[in-house]
């Protein structure tokens, strides 16, 4: 019994020390809007705080909503207004966003813009994947 208990304890200890990637990703704060500037360069659609360029991107956000943002998602360049990004779901390490487009043949502003979301996640991992659905 002692051995079994001992072995169980070791297994529990080892389990508790596994990487956090297995922890459920949760969104603590999120704010989505459009930016007049390309926040994330190099054709990426997201950037997290562990990236060296994160603060450079973060500074481009005009009207930051909270100070603990650690994750930014951005859609590609839009030639007119009426677009927006919305968090859809999180499945494992995949975060799904839905991009809303203005209806065809409807009037919109004529400004170059980039829909984005400023996000505070509970954890930051390098194996996150962002999927923007349209």
């Amino acid at each position: 019994m002692l051995n079994k208990y001992y072995i169980f304890s070791i297994i529990f200890f080892l389990y508790s020390c596994t990487p956090q990637s297995n922890e459920t990703i949760k969104v603590i704060n999120i704010f989505c809007k459009t930016s007049g500037q390309n926040i994330i360069e190099n054709n990426k659609n997201f950037i997290n705080k562990s990236d060296a360029n994160f603060f450079k991107s973060y500074e481009k956000i005009n009207g930051k909503k909270f100070s603990n943002s650690n994750f930014i998602v951005q859609s590609d360049e839009k030639r007119r207004g009426g677009y927006s990004l919305n968090l859809n779901k999180i499945v494992g390490n995949k975060i799904y966003f839905f991009e809303t487009s203005p209806q065809e043949k409807t009037a919109t502003s004529t400004v170059i813009n980039y829909p984005y979301c400023e996000i505070e996640l509970n954890i930051i991992t390098n194996n996150l994947e962002v999927i923007i659905e349209r």
Binding site: G36, G63, G81, G82, T100, K105, T108, S109, T110
Partner: protein, 762 residues
């Protein structure tokens, strides 16, 4: 005392050489001073503007162009308009967009920046069009953000902004909301310009297809706004296609929109069409380009927030703001004419000559606010488009005023303006009246050259005797400069460039006054304006009466005087007195009191001056007392439709008195002291009735300026002259001149001249 000049001259064989310069002056300075077709042109060549309003080129000015000189406001030369005094003040601009920040933004705390009509928020159906998106606030800043030494300022920072929220915070809307928004702007009743930094992507090739693309409800309101005479400015769209999107392109096919509707494409920071911008294409005749990339303007994130945005959304408000400036500046232009002017003034050289891309070219506010064609004065009508309106080029309009009243004229007109009109739709401009006036100056006689000319002895004339009398002729370089024929009994005298003033023919003293240009002028009739050359004189005299005539070569100046004197001859013991009374008239063609005017200030025919003169000369052995006084009464012969009129006579005076002593310590020496006052207006006025304002009905208002011609001071010249005949061929003159209140102005500094002049003939 300021040493001004020092000169002493020596003459060898009638050639003068400077030997020693001893001319000094105290003080110095002072005085003096001083139809067009309509609309569009078929061939234009407007070069890029030069941003020249340096006083307005602040950090705030450059900020809108992302602090880069040559972008944003400096690209369109907005500072030139500011330097002219125009900022869009008093002009109401409507903005249909996402609303305006309601935060206490520093760029909108000036008056008139956040005007709301009841129900201005068409999205939320309330009165406050609060912007939760940012686009509308950015556009509003481009048009009219405050000039307050912080952040940036809009192109028309003096304009009043009216905000209508037709997009929600996500940037979407419905056609009903848009239509209601436009109607709300129409209902305002005071908007001149409506900015539409929005549109519907898609191309149309006919009125019906445009209307379908826009939506009939919205389309009807756009037409209604145009019919309400509101200038509408549409962004061309960002799809990088060959023609603007539906709303902006509609003007190409709907005559109801044409004239008051513009499409605006965007150029990038390099000045070339932006890679996103739709081109002017089918709307080229109603389209131009403006900077649209990386425009720094107000945002909604706080009271000091700004954002860099790009798009034709940013180009359109630069055009709207520019139109506000034109609207303020050109009160004589209709809205259609303002639009035409903005198009026709656009830079269209170089790459901007491609009308399929840039339409009329690149927005050029510097050119739009400058005269196009020539500036002209209006007369003959109070309506710019009247058939009876007469236009004269401003360049041919001038007033060259005599020093007898130039000081008073300039003072009276300080700060007063007249309105003139360029030859492009007769846009109105202001011109300072004093800029059209050139003042003659008595003081110019006292420059170094003229001062010596007054002192120098005349070249010895050649004398020809005939059975009828004596002719004196002076030649310069073989050319006859002057001559004077007098009969033996002095009954008849005829002069060419040499007056026939018999009063100065003193038999004993040979006055200094008679031997120099200096004093001689003081004893001539001041109303015979023998300036310059080619003047003719004739006198008929007996012992006690006579007449003088004067005429210049082109017969523009004529003079006639009767004169009477006591005819007393010099006695053997050296006493005589000679009193001469004269009266007469001088006639000046197209001028008066030796003041010529032209163009809109012209007079016509002959203006007459009646004059009286009294001259007195008394010789008491070696002393010769001389004096003269003249008074005149001038009547201006007005020209119909001239700005200048004078219903009352102008009274003038001039006087001279002095004494000359012969045999001053030595028979070869003379000394003379003369005090004189040049011709001066004692009482008189003229009226200048000039256009000063105009309205959009093209009616012109005139203002009459009553100008008192009496100067505020009296010029007095004091001359002390010493002359010594060293030999028959050699003499020396020393002169001291003091001029007080030059040109009859208290503002003139006193002037003093000291000179020495030595002449020797071989």
């Amino acid at each position: 005392m300021e040493i001004k000049n020092i000169i002493l001259k020596k003459k060898f064989q009638f050639i003068l050489f400077p030997l020693l310069l001893i001319l000094s002056a105290c003080g110095g300075g002072g005085g003096g001073g001083g139809g067009g077709g309509a609309g569009s042109s078929t061939t234009r060549s407007i070069a890029a503007c030069t941003d020249s309003g340096t006083a307005f080129q602040t950090a705030e000015y450059y900020a809108l162009g992302n602090t880069v000189v040559g972008r944003g406001l400096s690209k369109i030369c907005a500072s030139n308009a500011y330097a002219r005094g125009y900022t869009g003040s008093g002009v109401k601009v409507g903005i249909l967009d996402t609303g305006i920040t309601t935060a206490a933004h520093q760029e909108f705390d000036g008056s008139g920046k956040r005007n709301y009509d009841t129900g201005s928020d068409l999205v939320s159906s309330d009165n406050i069009p609060q912007d939760g998106h940012g686009h509308g606030t950015h556009v509003a800043g481009i048009i009219g953000a405050d000039k307050d030494n912080t952040g940036m300022h809009g192109v028309a920072y003096g304009a009043s902004l009216y905000h209508y929220r037709i997009f929600n915070d996500a940037g979407t809307t419905t056609n009903t909301i848009i239509a209601n928004g436009i109607q709300k702007a129409i209902d305002n009743g005071g908007l001149s310009i409506l900015n539409h930094s929005w549109g519907t992507a898609g191309s149309c090739t006919s009125q019906s297809s445009c209307e379908t693309g826009v939506g009939s409800t919205v389309y009807a309101k756009i037409v209604a706004a145009a019919q309400a005479n509101i200038i509408q400015v549409f962004s061309a769209g960002n799809e990088n296609v060959s023609s603007p999107s539906y709303e902006a392109n509609s003007v190409a096919y709907d005559s109801r929109l044409q004239g008051v509707t513009l499409a605006v494409a965007a150029v990038g920071t390099d000045g070339v069409i932006a890679n996103y911008s739709n081109k002017c294409g089918t709307a080229a005749s109603y389209c131009l380009a403006a900077p649209g990339s990386f425009i720094y303007s107000t945002y909604i994130s706080g009271t000091t927030s700004y954002e860099l945005l790009s798009g034709t959304s940013m180009a359109a408000p630069l055009v709207s703001g520019s139109l506000a400036i034109l609207k303020q500046q050109f009160t004589s232009l209709t809205n259609t004419q303002l639009v035409t002017r903005l198009l026709e003034s656009a830079t269209n050289t170089g790459i901007y000559s491609d009308t399929s891309i840039y339409g009329y070219g690149l927005l050029n506010l510097g050119q739009a606010t400058s005269p196009m064609g020539v500036l002209r004065t209006l007369s003959g009508s109070d309506n710019l488009d009247s058939g009876s309106a007469s236009y004269i080029d401003l360049s041919s309009t001038s007033f060259i005023s005599s020093a007898s009243f130039s000081n008073a004229l300039k003072k009276s007109l300080t700060g007063k303006q007249l309105e003139v009109y360029d030859s492009f739709d007769r846009a109105n401009f202001k011109v300072e009246l004093n800029d059209l006036i050139v003042s003659k100056s008595n003081v110019s006689e006292f420059n170094a050259t003229n001062h010596f000319n007054r002192l120098k002895s005349k070249d010895k004339p050649q004398v020809y005797l005939s059975p009828f009398g004596q002719t004196e002729a002076t030649y310069v370089n073989g050319q006859l400069e002057s001559n004077l024929f007098t009969t033996y009994n002095n009954f008849l005298a005829i002069g060419y460039n040499q007056d026939t003033n018999s009063f100065l023919k003193n038999e004993k003293t040979n006055l200094i006054a008679n031997d120099s240009l200096f004093s001689k002028n003081y004893f001539n009739n001041p109303y015979f304006y023998n300036e310059g050359r080619s003047n003719f004189f004739m006198s008929l005299n007996n012992n006690q009466s006579g007449l003088d005539t004067f005429m210049n070569s082109n017969s523009n100046d004529l003079g006639f005087a009767m004169k009477f004197n006591n005819g007393e001859k010099l006695t053997e013991d050296g006493y005589a007195s000679n009193l001469e009374f004269s009266f007469g008239v001088s006639a000046e063609n197209k001028k008066f009191l030796n003041s010529s005017s032209s163009g809109a200030f012209a007079t016509e025919g002959f203006s007459n001056t009646n004059f009286l003169g009294l001259k007195y000369n008394k010789t008491v052995q070696d002393l010769n007392f001389v004096s003269s006084i003249y008074m005149g009464q001038t009547f201006i012969n007005e020209k119909e439709s001239s700005y200048l009129s004078g219903s009352k006579p102008i009274y003038t005076s001039s006087l001279t008195m002095g004494v000359i002593k012969d045999n001053f310590y030595d028979p070869s020496q003379k000394i003379g002291f003369v005090m004189s006052q040049p011709q001066k207006v004692e009482k008189g006025e003229i009226n200048l009735r000039v256009p000063t304002s105009s309205n959009r009905d093209r009616n012109v208002s005139y203002t009459t300026y009553n100008v008192d011609l009496k100067p505020d001071a009296r010029q007095v010249n004091l001359d002390l002259i010493f002359e010594k005949s060293i030999t028959e061929m050699e003499n020396l003159k020393l002169g001291l001149t003091h001029v007080q209140n030059a040109d009859h102005s208290t503002e003139s500094k006193n002037q003093n001249f000291i000179s020495a002049y030595w002449q020797k003939r071989f």
